[in-house]
Amino acid sequence: MSALAGQPSEMAASMRFAERIGENLREACHGFAARPAMRMGAEEWSYQELGAGVERFRDWLLAETTEGPILLVPRNEPSSVAMVFGAIDSGRAPLLADPAWTPVELAEVVRRSAARALVLRKGSAVPAGFVLRAENGGYQLLTAEAGAEPSAVALREDTAFGRFTSGTTGFPRCLQFSDAAALAAARGWAEAARLSPGDRVLCLATLNNGLCFNTSLLPVFLSGGLLAFHAGRVLPSSLEKSLIAVDATVFVAFPFAYDLLVKRPAGVPVGPALRLAVSLAAPLAGSTREGWRQATGRSICDYYGVAEVGPCTFNDGSVPDSVGRPLAGVSFTITDEAGLELPAGETGLIRIRTRSMAFDYLDREGPPFAANLDEEGRYVSRDIGMLDATGHLVLKGRRGRMINVAGRKIDPVEVEAVVRQVPGVNDVFVCGDESPGRTILAAYVESESVTREQLVAFCVARLAAYKVPQDFVIVPRLPRSSTGKFSAPGIRALQQEGTTCLP
């Protein structure tokens, strides 16, 4: 397939980067031709059809836009995969948005990342102030009525796409990735997971999420496997049907999906073909882990990846409580706070070197990306861990306030900023409360008048559903220390008292 022949000169210009995602995908689509590439329910795309779909969307974006980046809101469906790779191949640098974001959040992300256009599935809620410019199949391209804002940060020439991190600055930040980084991540995972053309990978993670991007998109296509999406809601009954219909060899999901499946009265509905079950390294209930092992004879493989650096380990389940050994091209150093390297068996800060690291943020509304790196160029994670004598990594905790709810990382600062805008709210503290089986996002609200209904209504309109606190504890005065900061013991005492809602 020589899809680049005759394309606009900018396409030819972009070829000077030696290894492109588009080239690799074209090669796979040519080589695996009639083999099935994607399936969702009764819909199936061959590799040839995937290649044609990528070209179609690429050409559409080249015709309808003049520059990137473009904020793209993909769904878990074959046409969105073609859209993502078409946008990457167009050189317009798609930024992959979370489909759960509200129109208010999308508009703000467009502003902060200086995206020149927004691509949505038809029928999606359109942010205020955006107008329709073009349509292609089920997608629409919109631009801000007031025109695009000038970029605060220039898009790097070698930026292939952007993914968002929940950040620690009160709003998602866009990370710029190169083709080489994405290909290194894909190859590292494909090699460790031994993906082959015989694999059928059922992925529940959304396309914008690193778990999906790094385990189930390029790795599967470069290996000639089949990527399957679950059609419909993630309910135990329909999930069971998908698992059986796909006869998955690899299952990629968040912890709650495993929780649901092990509770099925008829047992875990997986066939004998299943050889690998991957879960985000979020807290997974011990009973779920054990229930899965007993039902399938296999352990759940914890995925440990960091938004800024990509996938880090592969876990074959041989070392209990470990997230596995580093992927090819990944190395860890465990240090104390001062950066002094610690020997195997000692717990400290995890510093990571990978070939799949992002190279910059696409905004300047927080610390620069370089602030994440030490003097040797290693990414200084917020995770605390230990390497054992065999090189297996064991996670021990996390610095900072980031909250992991069902596999999604939530920045409490972002949620607090929204809750503080509710009339009648003096202040708020957001944290994760441990509940049996899962972490609950809780907001401790200082107010003498606000009600839970008012708080929920305000948050639902401005925050993605997963960022809306499930617990609102409303008190006239939040406990504070003598310096005016929230008092941790006082907040803990409120947590133990349980939910207190004003009428």
């Binding site: 759960a100 059609a231 419909g232 809601r233 993630v234 309910l235 135990p236 009954s237 329909s238 709650f256 649901l260 709810v405 069902a406 509940s435 899962r438 609950i440 996002l441 839970r452 209904e453 929920v456 209504a457 948050c459 639902v460 559903a465 997963y466 809306v468 606190p469 499930q470 617990d471 349980g498 939910t499 809602c501």
Partner: protein, 92 residues
């Protein structure tokens, strides 16, 4: 029992299921001004999932992918749907 009374009983059971599945986090307001939509209750996706699974367990039904979205948008709509399903004697 009249159809209206039967639906009210279902609605009351649904409220109980919702409050139990959310472990008491969601307490419905007095509904003199009408039932809030489920979206307005602020359940996150896991909370919604827990609720739908609890409804399956409570009523012996099974949600299918073709359930109209409006059925899952409010408790009265869900109660009407469940009532129709139960009266048909089938599972969804």
């Amino acid at each position: 029992m009249s159809a209206v009374a039967g639906r009210d009983v279902l609605l009351s059971r649904l409220v109980g299921v919702l409050e139990r599945s959310s472990e008491g986090r969601v307490v419905l307001p007095e509904h003199g001004s009408g039932w809030p939509s489920l979206d307005a209750l602020g359940l996150d996706s896991v909370g919604m999932l827990n609720f739908l699974v609890a409804v399956e367990d409570e009523f012996g039904i099974e949600w299918q992918d073709d359930v109209p979205p409006e059925v899952l948008s409010s408790l009265p709509a869900m109660a009407s749907f469940i009532e129709a399903e139960l009266s048909r004697g089938g599972t969804r």
